[in-house]
Point group: C2
Chain length 675, copies 2
């Protein structure tokens, strides 16, 4: 059914493609990041983990690798893509360190850079970069995580004293989950409702000292500790409460809005909502980092599970003198390989996202449309990659059996540390809704409509061209799709154009259906606007999911197009087939319901996936070799020990063969009780 693959593919050729545009940053990280403090540590107490990670943050600052994104005039390199890539590489070593770095240089430093002006940069950027000024990004409140516009902390200007009064009115307004707050932070970028001359102007940010030189809380600042968490032991998440704290006027980060000494508010962006989203938009980098770091953890978990499955044996096949390798079982392949294929697909999509972010943020003039699309893409890929991480690491843990439950095999940390990735930097469900909204309204009028999307009249009037914008390798993809003949069900399942067309058709159909249902709801007399929206919420989220699936497949196709090594290219084509077909297979009910697949073809799809698994089985280890993860970053005892055990057992079995030892067969399965 498929053309044959080369016998062996050089993983280095795959690594080169996966590494992409910031390959130099990755290579330097692989060569340099081997400090013992960086490598996986198990059984630490919270305090030990915090101390180690803080120590490591200082060392990393000295290395200069995490400040690539800062302006050249302050010692950075103005390299946004490089900064995100550097943070992602830290995720391979220690996820607490990655988060700590993300807080310090991505969120805190990034906010000062993006929302502040020259006086803030001159005063603080160098100390932030060197970690001499550890800081917090104090946005989320106990009562508001997803709906940031509704933060309850207030910051009220008093022209008499020319200062702001920063205040937490009640516990729901307490800043919560704030990294660097419980132990290290000396300052915080605090988000609050700006009030001046008796009027509110929406959420703004201030630079506020929270600890003095001795590390004690500043007057009026109460600092709490979020206490033990599921994971990320090395990150000191805490809570900040402000009791009428005085903040000097010039500590307002005033790039997008400022207050004159007399209290007059001015902004270059008239519309409050638009101003808010412009401010948030500058901070997209954090979301991109989380997606990339989730992918790093996913790769580690697959590396461990695949190598273990290539060594570990259980149950004998009739007539064989050794037991069967886990990786030789179809059901084990069904677990590992589709997850691996999706990981490759997301890698290409993430690489493209980082490049887009770098270019959009580095452009002379802000292209609002491009910025909106970037935010949508970042949101969708963050959600997809973090959910993929949660699922895949769980699967890898189970695929390693009881060994996967021991910290010495790394998987428990990967699981616990990444678990919150589906929540922070935006709850995934809310992020998908954001993506959906972009699709439903189109990017071009997003600013005007974000505010009123719930209003019935707007939905009824809404017009969206559902001609999908292709993302990457536009020409190639158009050619592939256009070459698919009309009668879909005669096209081979491995035809790339057909696969692309299936995902494209689905996105378009789901989107049009959602628009139709929203409009119908809006036109029904007596229905509350909330109910119009809520009755189709599942359908709306589906538009985002189908959109992400398509852009990811397109990115994969574009990635293959860039691959020059013939063997690597052939293997990637097969992996891409597996990603495309398992994506379609997972949702084949929809394709059946909508006449895109016949029953016969749907069954053939499943059979074809199984053929692909057989084809790819010999390349399983090559596919994880390509991640090029240094041995000491893995920290999994089973990778060091299992092969020796299997050898010892085999040797002993051969020696005692005469004693009449008999084996069961791979098909005579029984399992023990016992823990």
């Amino acid at each position: 059914m498929t053309t044959s693959l080369p016998h062996a593919v050089d993983p280095r050729a795959l690594t080169e493609v996966l590494d992409g545009r910031w390959g130099h940053v990755r290579r330097v990280a692989r060569a340099d990041l081997h400090d013992p403090d960086l490598l996986p540590a198990y059984g630490e107490s919270v305090q030990e983990a915090r101390e180690r990670v803080t120590r490591m943050a200082r060392k990393i600052a000295e290395s200069g690798r995490v400040v690539l994104g800062f302006p050249k005039e302050y010692g950075g390199e103005g390299d946004a893509g490089g900064s995100v890539t550097a943070i992602e590489m830290l995720a391979f070593t220690d996820l607490s360190l990655m988060v700590k770095a993300g807080v310090q240089w991505g969120l805190f430093g990034g906010a000062v850079q993006a929302l502040g002006t020259e006086r803030h940069h001159d005063a603080y950027l160098r100390d932030i970069m060197s970690f001499d000024l550890p800081g917090c990004f104090a946005m989320t409140e106990t009562g508001h995580g997803s709906d940031v516009q509704q933060l309850r902390t207030t910051c009220t200007y008093d022209p008499e004293t020319q200062t702001f009064d920063l205040h937490t009115p009640h516990e729901a307004a307490r800043k919560d989950y704030i990294g660097n707050a419980a132990q290290d932070g000396r300052m915080a970028v605090v988000f609050a409702q700006l009030v001046t001359q008796g009027r509110r102007h929406g959420v703004h940010a201030w630079l506020v000292p929270i600890r003095d030189e001795q590390g004690d809380p500043m007057p009026g600042v109460t600092i709490g500790d979020d206490g033990p968490k599921a994971g990320l032991l090395g990150v000191d998440n805490g809570r900040l409460t402000f009791d009428h704290v005085t903040v000097p006027r010039d500590m307002l980060l005033d790039r997008y809005g400022s207050v004159a000494p007399d209290g007059t508010y001015t902004s270059s962006i008239e519309n409050e909502t638009r101003r808010f989203f412009t401010m948030l938009g500058t901070l997209v980098r954090g979301r991109v980092s989380v997606g990339g770091s989730a992918a790093a953890a996913t790769k580690l978990s697959l590396d461990i599970a695949v190598r273990y499955g290539e060594t570990r044996r259980q149950f004998s096949a009739p007539g064989a003198d050794r037991e069967v390798l886990l990786n030789d079982y179809l059901v084990h392949q069904r677990k590992l390989l589709p997850a691996l294929a999706a990981t490759y697909a997301y890698s290409f999509a993430q690489e493209e996202l980082v490049g887009t972010m770098h270019d959009v943020q580095g452009a002379e003039d802000l292209d609002e449309g491009a910025q909106r699309e970037l935010e949508s893409r970042a949101a969708g890929l963050k959600a997809a990659q973090t959910w993929h991480a949660t699922r895949t690491i769980q699967m890898a843990r189970e695929a390693c059996g009881g060994a996967g439950y021991l910290q010495e095999n790394r998987l428990p940390h990967l699981k616990a540390d990444t678990d919150v990735f589906t929540t922070f930097e935006g709850d995934n469900t809310v992020l998908l809704q954001l993506v959906a909204k972009g699709l439903l309204t189109g990017y071009r009028d997003a600013f005007g409509s974000l505010d009123g999307w719930g209003k019935v009249g707007f939905i009824a009037d809404m017009v969206r061209e559902t001609v999908l914008e292709r993302t990457a390798a536009r020409g190639l993809i158009a050619r592939l799709v256009d070459a698919v003949p009309g009668r879909d069900d005669e096209v081979p399942l491995l035809d790339r154009g057909w696969q692309l067309k299936m995902l494209e058709d689905r996105e378009k159909h789901v989107l049009e259906g959602a628009i139709r249902r929203l409009r119908r709801g809006a036109e029904t007399p007596g229905v509350q606007p909330f109910d119009v929206f809520n009755d189709v919420q599942d359908h709306v989220l589906r538009t985002a999911q189908t959109h992400v699936d398509r852009i990811v497949l397109e990115a994969f196709v574009a990635g293959i197009e860039r691959t020059t090594d013939a063997g690597a290219r052939a293997l990637l084509e097969r992996v891409c087939d597996l990603y495309a077909l398992t994506t379609i297979e997972a949702d084949r009910a929809w394709f059946l319901e909508h006449g895109r697949l016949t029953a016969t073809r749907s069954k053939a799809l499943t059979a074809t996936v199984n053929v692909l698994l057989k084809d790819l089985r010999p390349h399983l280890v090559t596919l994880v070799d390509a991640f090029a993860i240094p041995e000491d970053w893995k920290g999994a005892a089973i990778l060091r020990e299992e092969a020796g055990r299997q050898e010892a057992m085999y040797t002993d079995d051969m020696a005692t063969h005469d004693t009449g030892l008999r084996r069961g067969t791979a098909t005579s399965l029984e399992v023990p009780p016992g823990q």
Copy 2:
């Protein structure tokens, strides 16, 4: 589309049905288990957790609640169902304690009871029951978890000294993951290959002292610690290695096989494999306990997520003066309610399983067929319930946002502690294969065929009547199914008979297909037996999954039949609809592929599920109230604090209303970066 539900249902009426036959054990546990050592503790070190759990195990032993299953003559009550229920109730308070109790009284004590004879009972049972003799169940080895018949530890009889020589030949034969080993265990039931007179007789068990009175390892015994794990901090899992340890002859647990002083081996069960499975079969109780305990953790997680969603608000609806409750969002309902419905379904299936176990094990004569069916049922429900727990607790964690990541809200512990449940007491994938094998070969000839199932000839000859044996409420279910008219697609989706028939048809069809494919493979010349099996492994596992889905639905129907309270019954009917339809919906691709659903009807199914969500929304809290979980068992700060925060915020908002605070709408979603 549906008949209306009563306005309010008394949760106590639901509790009574859910509590079932061992309701008295549950009620006593709810009344009595409030020792501070039992309640959730956060931020403990491994040593603190171990000490607390050991302390608690002693207290629990004194209470007598965990020894219900032991014989009356030793102070127990011979109540197998009660013992499993008592362990399940411990799972609500502390999962480490539940596992520790399961090891001590279920596995270790259970093995002495079931595999030993009177002299072992007289010598040890009382001390085991009182925890004066903490012990281990040393079956699993580092090299063999799933394939117990292939354990590599040997125990060789020497007639000269009339002792056994217990030996670990290499590291793969080391006993691993053994609860009670690292700290508390004084003896262990050790499973090893019995060798006497130069012949092997398969796996047997010995009672072996591993520590002396001072707690030091016995000569020749090396004890290791499995070190930090993902969870279950209070369980001291360890490793045991035996270097030619001398074991007296009478320490062989010899109920099913004994060695005379001269080394002659005798057994009441001739066939070695049959003997092995008979020995393992007596230990089914552990697997039943794990399923029940997974369900307890699932209920706790749903209780927390549902109550939080009933208090927590985020985003405003147009025109409303408060933000929208999480539980009012369709997508939130789509997460919580199907999980809740499945939890109800499994509760009924588990209740039935415990009853069957109690009756089968308590019968005068062993009914081998009933015992086999019990083991299959226990395996299938263990797999289904533990995977459901992993998924549901993860979902609940995400549904609580960042709060779900803090230990103070309990969910991290529930997640980490139950994670290994999908592995221990049998890897779930292997367990499903065991279930499938039972279905494929039929129970009646299982003993004869277990050994040779991989052999080609056998498969080719295999005949199985695919008339499914109904499990519960046979008459009622037969009537419901028979009443479904021939043209399925005109029957209402809420017709219970149609739902039952769909799951029954699917099981039968999948099973027949698997048999056909196996036979075809076996008849193909040149195909290796392993490949015959492996090529259809995914299909084989599907038979088990479809089987479990059916018996669970049947148990739900039987449970409703026992419900006398009209309101509770009406509500359960609706919950059962949701379980049945979401189960069918999840696999609707299969039903479409096989002509059991038209495209139109498949779409209607999804719409009907959404209608059921609306119907059940007002009863969400009632459905978790029915779990009757005492407040102090929950240990979730958000359940104590969030309502007050929401009130304070609302009060403050109303007071500051004049200042022009404006809110976004539930449909204008944006989310913050920030961690």
